[in-house]
């Protein structure tokens, strides 16, 4: 029981965000776009930020981007993440503009630098219907 409690928490999608998670399950990335303001939006919302227009539509993107910033957590950021160290917790700036939270995988610590190109690495979480969007170096 204690082991179950300490597993990293998984997302619980809501109706509004389900298309994002469905796309990840197919190893693609879809985010919202607001034609009226020519604005890409992440995370998924009911209204476009700032303009508050409701014309958001889902569009597939490559998911590629650059590393905006990161840290390497040497201690668990919450008890659930014990045993996951080091966690390379990243902020990725998508080529379309929005940023998202992720973790970097398949990279040596001394090869990480702010501004590096990164691409999606889809993790199908075993025993679940969830796919997480992690990132790895693009080269």
């Amino acid at each position: 029981m204690a082991t179950d409690e300490l597993r990293p928490p998984l997302p619980t999608p809501i109706d509004r965000t389900q298309p994002f998670w469905n796309a990840l399950r197919e190893h693609t990335v879809k985010i919202q776009y607001s034609p009226s303001s020519d604005q890409w939006v992440f995370y998924p919302r009911s209204h476009a930020p700032l303009t508050l227009q409701t014309d958001l539509e889902w569009r597939e993107i490559s998911g590629e981007g650059t590393l905006y910033t990161y840290t390497i957590a040497r201690r668990p950021t919450a008890p659930d993440f014990a045993g996951e160290q080091p966690q390379i917790i990243a902020v990725v700036e998508l080529d379309e503009g929005p940023r998202l939270t992720s973790t970097l995988v398949n990279v040596a610590e001394d090869q990480i630098s702010v501004g590096m190109r990164v691409r999606p690495w889809f993790e199908d979480v075993p025993g679940t219907e969830t796919t997480l969007l992690r990132y790895e170096p693009a080269t």
Partner: protein, 399 residues
């Protein structure tokens, strides 16, 4: 827009921060009552004169918080404010109290930050605490629950480390300069008997040799969680004039609230403090050169560095050489966090943010004792909530 500077901090109560409580737990309402009594005693004001309160959440009630407090304390108030801005809450309460007083709504406002442990219920509810992920909400439908928490982007160390990493990528990272902030503030803590690290000097080497918790932040660059509590009394001109101490007039303020998680910042290196500080100086009619000391939120050393820059005491990107060139201790040429800062004094929950206000007021009141800045007249104060994204700036002045 602005204040006339006709409301002042006139009374202070502050419990010495402790890493492990040496006294029994107390309910939040009991802490409110005791802190209020001590702060009013300090000012020489009778409880019957209180006609305003500012508070945050209390353990005993999830809602209707102000009336729960006024009922318990037997107060009847014209101004009852709940503020939810994390570490910026207390600073945000100070200007709200001053504004309410200058509007004529009230005359004596108590602001309390009870941060002492409460007794545990005999049958505690099961399940994880709501603070399991720090400030990140795991509630159903919360954007953090869905898009940040699953990747471990929770609590404070991670976000501040990401900010520090971005700062380094933009301006270069001088780890010794960052460490010096903790060292200089520790000098002040060593002269403050109330500080949790009163008797523990440190060096730059100590800081850099302490474990890296989240790159590039070392353990000694992070506040020490404590228990404690604090309260202040803000009063209008007439009451302030007959109070016991030299009043610390609230002459300027600014507030700016942006995002919650750094991932979604428009520009992680352009903090909410820039407009907040500009507004505070404009309202007070003061220049940066007129400031005698700063008392600024210091959950991490990077917070202080970016605060010095974004408040306008040096150009952006030049904070590291600025810190190297100045002595930040109470006896230095740029006194910063003369009580030791939360890094040296201890962070007793919300009372940690209040400590920057009590210290700024104490200095202006000339009650700094062993760590008094000579002739202190103008103090610049900040409160910082979340991840540099909720900022309040205050200016306090003597007569």
């Amino acid at each position: 827009m602005g204040l006339r500077g006709e409301a002042a901090i006139v009374g202070i109560a502050e419990w010495k921060p402790e890493r492990r409580p040496t006294a029994p737990p107390m309910f939040t309402l009991e802490q409110w009552a005791e802190l209020t009594r001590e702060a009013l005693d300090d000012a020489g004001i009778d409880p019957s004169e209180v006609d305003g309160i500012c508070c945050t959440n209390i353990r005993e009630s999830d809602s209707f918080v102000p009336s729960t407090i006024t009922e318990y304390l037997g107060l009847q108030v014209n101004f009852a404010e709940v503020v939810d801005l994390g570490g910026a809450s207390c600073a945000a309460m100070v200007w709200r109290a001053a504004a309410a007083i200058e509007l004529g709504l009230c005359n004596v406002v108590v602001i309390a930050a009870p941060s002492w442990p409460s007794p545990r219920p005999p049958n505690p509810p099961s399940g994880p605490s709501s603070w399991r992920y720090g400030a990140s909400s795991a509630n159903y439908g919360s954007p953090q629950a869905e898009f940040d928490i699953p990747y471990g982007n929770v609590a404070q160390n991670c976000g501040y480390a990401q900010i520090a990493m971005k700062y380094g990528a933009e301006y270069g990272y001088d780890a010794e300069a960052l460490a010096k902030i903790a060292v200089d503030q520790r000098v002040s803590a060593n002269h403050n008997p109330a500080a949790v690290f009163h008797n523990v000097p440190i060096t730059v080497e100590d800081v850099l040799n302490s474990p890296v918790i989240s790159d590039p932040i070392h353990m000694l660059e992070i506040v020490m969680p404590c228990v404690g509590g604090a309260a202040i009394v803000v009063a209008g001109k007439d009451v302030a004039r007959r109070s016991k101490h030299r009043p610390a007039w609230i002459s300027g303020f600014g507030e700016r609230v942006l995002h919650k998680t750094p991932t979604y910042a428009e520009d992680l290196l352009s903090t909410a403090l820039i407009p907040a500080a500009d507004q505070a100086f404009a309202i007070a009619g003061r220049s940066r050169e007129e400031v005698d000391l700063i008392s600024v939120y210091d959950c991490y050393t990077i917070t202080v560095l970016m605060t010095i820059e974004d408040a306008g005491f040096c150009p952006r990107g030049e904070g590291q050489p600025f810190v190297r060139e100045h002595d930040l201790s109470f006896k230095g040429d740029f006194p910063c966090n003369t009580h030791g800062g939360q890094l040296g004094f201890g962070q007793a929950g919300l009372a940690g943010g209040m400590s920057h206000i009590t210290e700024g007021a104490r200095q202006v009141m000339r009650r700094g004792e062993d760590h008094q800045v000579p002739d202190a007249d103008v103090a610049f104060i900040t409160g910082n909530g979340g991840l540099m994204s909720e900022q309040v700036a205050l200016i306090l002045e003597g007569d």
